[in-house]
């Protein structure tokens, strides 16, 4: 195994229950799509919860969302869009067998993810400093309308779970880079890169919904 690396990838053996490498690839993609559907259901449920509560306490939610830092949110949106672009470039490089470029693009994607997390860290810590916590621990003097803490409960849970998925995505990309370096990815077999790409685009897409919903519409 040690003679294989990103410049000299190993030949790929598809699973014994598949008829061909193509069969394995299309099957893997189908599995990934179904997994994305399950994530949509999970997110959908909490979006529904948010919309219901927003409908119940419109003034509180409107007042609360104005406390959010739209500039940082917008910055993070741009960062994630850029990361999706680098991801696309990384996947297409892997598809063409250009493993060195693939690694570079994937590392750029991780870097964007890291920037996202750092910006998020500043956002959250500023909020905590002000006393803005989810639900019962909320003690921000600057906004005391009843039910405002409920907005922040949703804010922290939704952006927090999203950030968790970003971190998981970064780990997955790192693992993919490791596999490329070990010579396990080639023009004949780039499925892991493709699937991690799906995942990353999905995480980006969720943020594209979250940002306007929480930061702009309120």
């Amino acid at each position: 195994m040690s003679q294989y690396n990103e410049m000299n990838p190993a030949p790929h053996h598809y699973g014994h229950h598949f008829e061909s490498a193509e069969h394995e690839f299309t099957t893997a993609k189908q599995g990934m799509w179904i997994f994305m559907v399950t994530e949509v259901l999970m997110i959908g449920a909490i979006f529904v919860g948010y919309l219901l509560m927003r409908g119940r306490y419109p003034e509180a939610f409107h007042a609360a969302h104005q406390v959010l830092n739209v500039k940082l949110g917008a910055l993070n949106t741009i960062v994630l869009i850029v990361s999706s672009a680098t991801m696309v470039l990384g996947v297409s490089a892997a598809q063409r067998g250009n493993n060195k470029r693939a690694i570079n693009m994937l590392m750029a994607t991780i870097a964007c993810g890291a920037i996202f997390c750092v910006v998020k860290y500043f956002e959250y810590s500023h909020k905590f400093h002000e006393g803005i916590f989810p639900g019962g621990m909320y003690h921000y003097e600057g906004l005391t309308i009843p039910h405002v803490p409920l907005f922040f409960s949703f804010y922290f849970v939704m952006t927090g779970i999203h950030a968790f998925h970003v971190v998981v995505g970064m780990a997955l990309i790192f693992w993919t880079i490791t596999r490329i370096k070990r010579g396990q990815i080639s023009k004949q077999f780039f499925t892991p890169v493709e699937l991690v790409g799906f995942y990353w685009h999905f995480v980006d897409l969720v943020w594209i919904y979250l940002f306007p919903l929480l930061y702009l519409l309120g």
Binding site: G15, H16, H17, H23, T26, T27, A28, Q30, G31, I34, F35, V37, T38, E39, L41, M42, I43, G44, A45, I46, G49, L52, M53, R56, Y57, F133, P134, G135, G136, M137, P146, H147, P149, L150, S153, F154, F156, V157, I161
Partner: protein, 535 residues
């Protein structure tokens, strides 16, 4: 020395030896057996809790445990049975074993993911059981707020266990859908798909779409307890009824995850033992998806007296009625299959017939509960408990035990003892009806559920029910004895003792590691073509 002669030498059981080979296996057949062992273990635990509950209720004023212990027992009985037994029972154990073989495939689409699903299930179970030793939970398996937010105990750990186990269900469903779509053998068109696979397909769709909603609901509940996020807590402006909506949005489809596979098993057994094609193949396949669809739009019937609006009650009651139509179509079709057949009463057929009796009662009592006015009096009483035990135990468990007997020769290469199986069945069917029918009566008379101490006016029904539970337990013990003894020393069964026509029976019993050898079988006919020499 007949008992050492394994069919055809190398098979999946002796392909690799040693416990490590089992723990790291990606062979769907071995994974299915490992799930079976775990499911049966948790069935035993949940069953023991049930027996204690029934002992406690046997006589008013004579409890056997104190109220707090009782409340934990009833919570754990529900949580273990729902999350660790009934949901995985047929899909993860029988389904894992049989599905690839029925497809003519060498394995499921994602074998490593399959093994991961198993360990995820065990991890979830571990958290739930650990929680029991750290204070347990006394919230009921439904975790309604705000009580579940306020009560002390290891509630978060139990919920976390259920959350993790849910991913096992999701990933198994995902694996099955992709397997059925992508790994069908040459000639296996949709029109020739066995009904067991139609059932598992519909089940998997529900698993994939509904379980994530439970996941987020449980996560939010954990955050309620740790960070007081307040979404479900009225003291913080939240809505406890919203929790019920989220919870039942999963948990109602979940009951169809439980019953559809059992219906699949029945659809396989009855034609084989009647030597006749299944009646209404297309209707049954369509009905499986019809049920799966309706499953998602009726959850509000668990909230008829929760304080939700009259309009919601109207809609949910009307929609719930419709689930009875495809269900009825299936039941009539199964009985219709027996007409002008040539019926043999081996154990699988006995369990299929037992299913028909018990599931019919469970089904018609569901119509009672779907009827708005009627549900007002009957909800939260023992009538509901009787209804869901008739469908979940009388339905799913009968399908599970019948399926275990049916595929026993395939998995072990040996035959169980028919006589012992028959006696176990008799104990189970008598025990089951004696345990749960009195509960319909007690519930109609007003006996509430989740009561540590019941009033003396319900003593007679409670006593009968407890006696029944002893017969039921005895029946299951006899089944276990039969299975274990026959697996070790039952007579050799041959590859296809039932002369069934689905693909899995074309392999040796027990099957080799790759199911069919190097070349996949080809399908040339409908799997219920019982005519001519096949009769």
């Amino acid at each position: 020395m007949a008992h050492t002669e394994h069919a055809h030498g190398d098979n999946y059981l002796n392909h690799e030896k040693g416990i490590w080979s089992w723990m790291t296996t990606v062979d769907h057949k071995r994974i299915g057996l490992m799930y079976l062992a775990a499911v049966l273990f948790f069935f035993l635990i949940g069953g023991i809790f049930a027996l204690i509950i029934r002992l406690n209720l046997m006589k008013a004023g004579a409890p056997v445990v104190d109220a707090n212990t009782y409340n934990k027992l009833m919570t754990y009985h529900g949580a273990i049975m729902v999350f660790l037994v009934i949901i995985p029972a047929i899909p993860a154990s029988i389904g894992n074993f049989v599905l690839p073989m029925m497809l003519g495939a060498k394995d499921v689409a994602f074998p490593k993911l399959n093994l991961a699903s198993y360990y995820i299930y065990l991890l979830g179970a571990l958290f739930a059981c650990l929680a029991l030793f750290l204070g347990g939970a006394d919230t009921g398996w439904t975790f309604y707020t705000p009580y579940s937010i306020r009560t002390s105990g290891a509630v978060i750990m139990v919920i976390f266990g259920a959350f993790i186990a849910g991913f096992s269900s999701i990933l198994t469903g995902l694996n099955f859908i992709v397997s059925i779509q992508k790994l069908r053998a040459p000639g296996l068109t949709w029109n020739r798909l066995p009904l067991m696979l139609w059932a598992l397909y519909a089940t998997s769709v529900i698993q994939v779409l509904a379980t994530p909603v439970l996941a987020i609901t449980l996560v939010l509940l954990i955050f309620e307890r740790t960070f007081q996020i307040g979404i479900f807590d009225p003291a913080l402006g939240g809505d406890p009824v919203l929790f019920q909506h989220f919870f039942w949005f999963y948990s109602h489809p979940a009951v169809y995850i439980m019953i559809l596979p059992a219906m699949g098993v029945i659809s396989e057994i009855i034609p084989v033992f009647s030597r006749k094609p299944i009646f209404g193949y297309r209707a049954i396949a369509l009905a499986s998806f019809g049920i799966a669809l309706v499953a998602f739009i009726v959850w509000g019937h668990h909230l008829f007296v929760s304080g939700q609006s009259e309009l919601a009650n109207f809609i949910f009651s009307l929609l719930t009625m419709f689930v009875a139509v495809p269900t009825g179509v299936k039941v009539f079709s199964w009985v219709g299959t027996m007409y002008k057949g040539s019926i043999r009463f081996n154990a699988p057929m006995l369990y299929a017939m037992g299913f028909l009796e018990l599931f019919t009662i469970g089904g018609v009592t569901g119509v009672f509960l779907a009827t708005l006015a009627i549900d007002v009096h009957l909800t939260d009483t023992y009538f509901v408990i009787a209804h869901f035990h008739y469908v979940m135990v009388g339905g799913t468990i009968m399908g599970f035990v019948g399926g275990m007997h049916y595929w026993f020769p395939k998995a072990t290469g040996r035959m169980y003892n028919e006589r012992i199986a028959m006696w176990a069945f008799i104990l189970i069917i008598i025990g089951f009806n004696l345990t749960f029918f009195p509960q319909f009566i007690a519930g109609s008379e007003g006996m509430p559920r989740r009561y540590w101490s019941q009033l003396p006016e319900f003593d007679l029904m409670n006593r009968l029910s407890t006696y029944g539970s002893w017969f039921l337990a005895a029946g299951f013990i006899v089944v276990a004895y039969n299975m274990i003894k026959s697996a070790k020393s039952g007579p050799i069964s041959g590859p296809n003792p039932w002369r069934a026509l689905t693909l899995e029976w074309q392999s040796p019993s027990p099957p080799p590691h790759d199911n069919f050898g190097p070349t996949a079988p080809t399908v040339t006919q409908w799997p219920y073509e019982y005519k001519g020499a096949n009769v």
